[in-house]
């Protein structure tokens, strides 16, 4: 095939392009992924039974806000990195700010508590459940986001894009898991939520080059 024939073919009868397609596609995928993760979390784990207790709603809000903040940040960076050459316009350290923020809060919280409580605050009751649930609930939103990136985007840095997809999926999953999680301490959120979302980010970075090729 001659290149000028190809150009002729591609440019004949072109349609106006929809500028918002990439953002809308990724936004839709994030919404679908969130819906799926909430369904999985509610069906498998349910909502914690002690919602009426004093202070519980505050901690639930903190966990959901941590997850949502991560999703919004990762999604925002993703709309940049998912475009060709976008990796030069997004600073990767920005993605670390919610983790650093929650670690700082955890440090304050630990500093203001007697050291005999530290063990209970950090490890909690259900650390293993948290460690297992967040990556598992994250599988569905991860798959939906990978599909959307393949369909609507064109990333040229697949490691970074994969990492952000993993981070967003981890954040979505944390929102779902938070509805059930009964461990109410900031150090627990920093360690187990932060740690598992970081793990999802790493997994995404490793899978990105395989899954996101176009």
């Amino acid at each position: 095939m001659r290149t000028n024939e190809l150009i002729e073919m591609l440019s004949t009868n072109i349609e106006p392009t929809d500028h918002g397609r990439l953002k809308r596609g990724l936004g839709l995928a994030a919404a679908l992924g969130t819906g799926a993760a909430l369904c999985v979390a509610l069906l498998s784990l349910g909502v914690r039974p002690d919602l009426h207790n004093h202070g519980v709603l505050g901690f639930l809000f903190l966990k959901v806000a941590f997850g949502a903040g991560i999703v919004v940040l990762a999604g925002w960076l993703l709309t940049k990195v998912a475009r060709p050459g976008g990796e030069t316009r997004a600073r990767p350290w920005v993605a670390a700010t919610p983790f650093l923020g929650v670690m700082l809060l955890a440090a304050f919280s630990l500093a203001s508590a007697p050291s005999s409580h530290w063990d209970r605050m950090l490890v909690g009751h259900m650390w293993l459940e948290c460690l297992v649930s967040i990556p598992i609930i994250g599988v569905l939103p991860f798959a939906v986001l990978v599909w959307a990136v393949r369909r609507f985007a064109a990333p040229t840095d697949l490691v970074r894009t994969g990492a952000l997809v993993g981070m967003a999926a981890g954040g979505i999953s944390a929102i779902g898991y938070a509805l059930n999680c009964m461990d109410d301490s900031v150090p627990f959120v920093a360690l187990w939520y932060g740690g598992t979302i970081a793990f999802c980010t790493l997994a995404g970075a490793l899978l990105g080059p395989r899954l996101l090729r176009w």
Partner: protein
């Protein structure tokens, strides 16, 4: 002759609004840039320059099917360059083992046809089209190769106009993926 950023950017903006002549100009200019870029890079990677034209076409199709990812508020050249570079790396990675024993004389043979206006790739459009479902093939033939309007193509095939548009769009995507998986030869 490499066009300036300002010129390319305004042409690309017009293209995204549906200006076919502007789009042709963009692709024409990019093909010159891409050909020079890939020949140089392939040569330095110790590869045959005959692969360059496949890469040029592969990249033009990628630019076409992903053109909505260009953010009109950003410079155009880095966007196009990023795709060119991505397609080069992808190509080198994909063909690493398969092409490692290309005889040197083949490279010389094919280099001789380089300077013609209509440089050819090893892709065979008819064979690529033959692999598409009937609807997509007819839609692409009428609208993209014969230059019929969408309305004319719709009345000839008995399909609706939106079905024609969808078939053209999906057909080009299918062609692009067939090419980038090396099934078009």
């Amino acid at each position: 002759m490499i066009a300036s950023e300002t010129e390319l950017r305004s042409l690309m903006r017009a293209s995204l609004d549906g200006d076919a002549a502007a789009y042709r100009a963009v692709l024409d200019r990019l093909s010159l840039y891409l050909r020079a870029y890939y020949r140089g890079k392939l040569h330095r990677a110790g590869r045959s320059p005959s692969e360059a034209e496949d890469l040029v076409q592969d990249t033009l199709i990628a630019i076409h099917t992903r053109r909505h990812t260009y953010d009109v508020d950003q410079p155009f050249t880095p966007w196009a360059q990023a795709i060119a570079r991505y397609k080069l790396i992808d190509h080198l990675r994909r063909t690493r083992t398969a092409m490692s024993n290309v005889p040197i004389e083949d490279a010389g043979d094919l280099e001789a046809q380089d300077d013609h206006a209509g440089v050819e790739s090893t892709y065979d459009l008819d064979r690529l089209l033959a692999k598409l479902p009937e609807k997509m093939r007819r839609a692409i033939r009428f609208v993209k190769l014969d230059g019929l309007s969408v309305a004319e193509a719709a009345s000839r095939t008995g399909m609706s106009e939106s079905a024609i548009k969808v078939s053209v769009h999906r057909g080009l995507k299918a062609l692009a993926s067939a090419i980038s998986q090396g099934r078009g030869r």
